[in-house]
């Protein structure tokens, strides 16, 4: 079967985008990716849209995006697995090329969130917990991860400072990313003085809702070689699940879906965690990045706190993590996030990340979590 590569990448500015509809956001990223690949729309065989439909007034989002991109009458479809919808879109595009159905597929992750109030979003996101037995107690998305954090602190001695050091790092790099929502560094003192959200979390433990879009164009090996000399190969595209309900999880200090998806992605790509030079992981909350270090095998279980405290996830450490600012500083337009991660890692492997470039980045990874770990997608990317 053909290898599948990334031949074009595009990214819009994340933030409160009161200037644009969701299809207009999608177009920004799509145009950017077409220009990057140096191809025109006629070369695209199909599109896959990653988005969470509940946030938009427009029903059936793939249709309106497809029309606005000018891709009618080519095929399109929408993928939804909460905050991992973008990676699911990439995975299904990858499948369609592997199957020989299509040769060149555009994947667009896009989301408009800021037309809803924060309370409405808290209610909607809280319902990614199990609604029959949990949501009736007013659970929230930060509340769930806060409970993971409490348990992690209890079992492994992880500290508030270690958690917030993740936010400090991600703001440090986000300040260097022109597409990020928050482009300023923060201090630990400022983070620890911020307002409470759900104990132990304060505002700086949490990523921000945002609008935005990102695009990657995938191609079969033969087509990729015709299009570009700098293809980034998508050699591992794993997905795993964990129970919807936290009441049915084996433990509350990590995401079993992430451990499984990582093991599968490493096996598909024939690498191990020590080979990864740069990773984008799903830091929707500070503890989520610490759990990701562990679930991905960058450090031992429970050692995620010291890992950040020792700056092992900065450029120059064991593995550079979220050096685009992560969800924390970039913002988290949920459907766009997974595609944004793949965009960033492709950029790193092409050596085009500017002042946040990781030296000798030849193997990269993305870790995109849906909900509170019900879904996890791990990709391994390589350059020739």
């Amino acid at each position: 079967m053909t290898r599948v590569g990334i031949v074009g990448i595009g990214h819009g500015v994340f933030g409160r985008r009161s200037d644009a509809t969701v299809q207009e956001l999608a177009f920004e990223a799509f145009r950017d990716a077409l220009n990057d690949a140096g191809i025109d729309r006629a070369a695209i065989d199909a599109s896959v849209i990653g988005a969470v439909p509940e946030y938009h007034k427009q029903r059936s989002l793939a249709g309106v995006v497809q029309e606005y991109l000018g891709l009618v009458p080519k095929p399109t479809w929408l993928t939804e697995v909460a905050c991992a919808s973008g990676s699911a879109a990439i995975r299904t595009a990858w499948m369609s090329i592997k199957a020989g159905l299509h040769d060149v597929v555009a994947v667009i992750g896009c989301q408009k969130m800021t037309e809803m109030s924060t309370a409405e979003i808290l209610a909607l996101m809280g319902r990614v917990g199990e609604v029959q037995w949990e949501s009736g107690f007013g659970t929230t998305f930060p509340g769930y991860y806060a409970m993971f954090a409490k348990r992690h602190m209890h079992e492994y001695g992880t500290t508030r400072e270690q958690l917030l050091q993740v936010a400090v790092k991600n703001h440090f790099y986000g300040a260097k990313n022109p597409n990020a929502l928050f482009r300023k560094e923060i201090t630990l003192e400022k983070a620890i003085a911020s307002e409470e959200v759900a104990t132990p979390f304060q505002v700086y433990d949490c990523c921000a809702n945002a609008d935005g879009a990102a695009c990657v164009i995938l191609a079969s090996e033969d087509r990729a070689k015709e299009i570009t000399q700098q293809t980034v190969w998508l050699d591992g595209v794993a997905c795993a699940t964990a129970s919807m309900s936290v009441l049915r999880r084996p433990s509350l200090t990590g995401l079993p879906s992430a451990e499984k998806a990582a093991a599968d992605a490493y096996a598909m790509a024939g690498i191990g965690p020590a080979d990864v030079k740069v990773a984008d992981v799903h830091d929707c909350f500070t503890v989520a990045e610490i759990m990701a270090y562990e679930d991905l095998g960058f450090c031992k279980k429970g050692a995620g706190g010291p890992f950040i405290a020792e700056r092992q996830s900065y450029i120059g450490g064991k593995v550079a993590v979220n050096v685009d600012g992560g969800l924390k500083a970039k913002g988290h337009p949920i459907g766009a996030t997974g595609v944004s991660m793949t965009y960033e890692i492709a950029k790193q492997l092409r050596g085009e990340a500017g002042e946040r470039q990781v030296p000798n980045a030849d193997v990269g990874l993305t870790h995109n979590v849906g909900g509170i770990g019900q879904y996890c997608f791990v990709q391994v990317l390589k350059r020739d």
Binding site: A119, V131, W133, G136, F137, G138
Partner: protein, 150 residues
Amino acid sequence: MFEWFGKVNFTPYTKVSDFARHLRDGHLMGSRCKKCGATSFPPRADCEACTSGDFEFYEVSGKATLNTFTKIVAAPTGFEDEVPYIVGVVDLAEGGRALAWFGESVPEGAIEIGMELQVVPRIFEEMEDIKVYYSLEQPGTTWSQVDRTW
């Protein structure tokens, strides 16, 4: 009558709806598969182990250990008047878990992971409709010691 369960209820119709009636009467029920005997809390109609759909309710003791908790300050729609509230996940003595609010018998400062608790059936006194839930209380707290108005 599963719409009785929870301050806000998102799933009024379920095969385990009698859970809410038992809860109103002061009984916390799990499910047991009549075919293979596997038990579950929260209850489920279809056996996770053997796929049988033949189940019965059985009463659980409510004895529990605190696994984790959080105090929610930023509330979702429908819970603005409750903040701040503390949500805990407990491991039940008979297996399974429950997620619930802490009741008034447990002062906030006394809450710590690993503490013993009792899951106690409750009713929202201030609401006109029947609204039932359960709360996390000091061991030994029984349903009859919890305020109720009807």
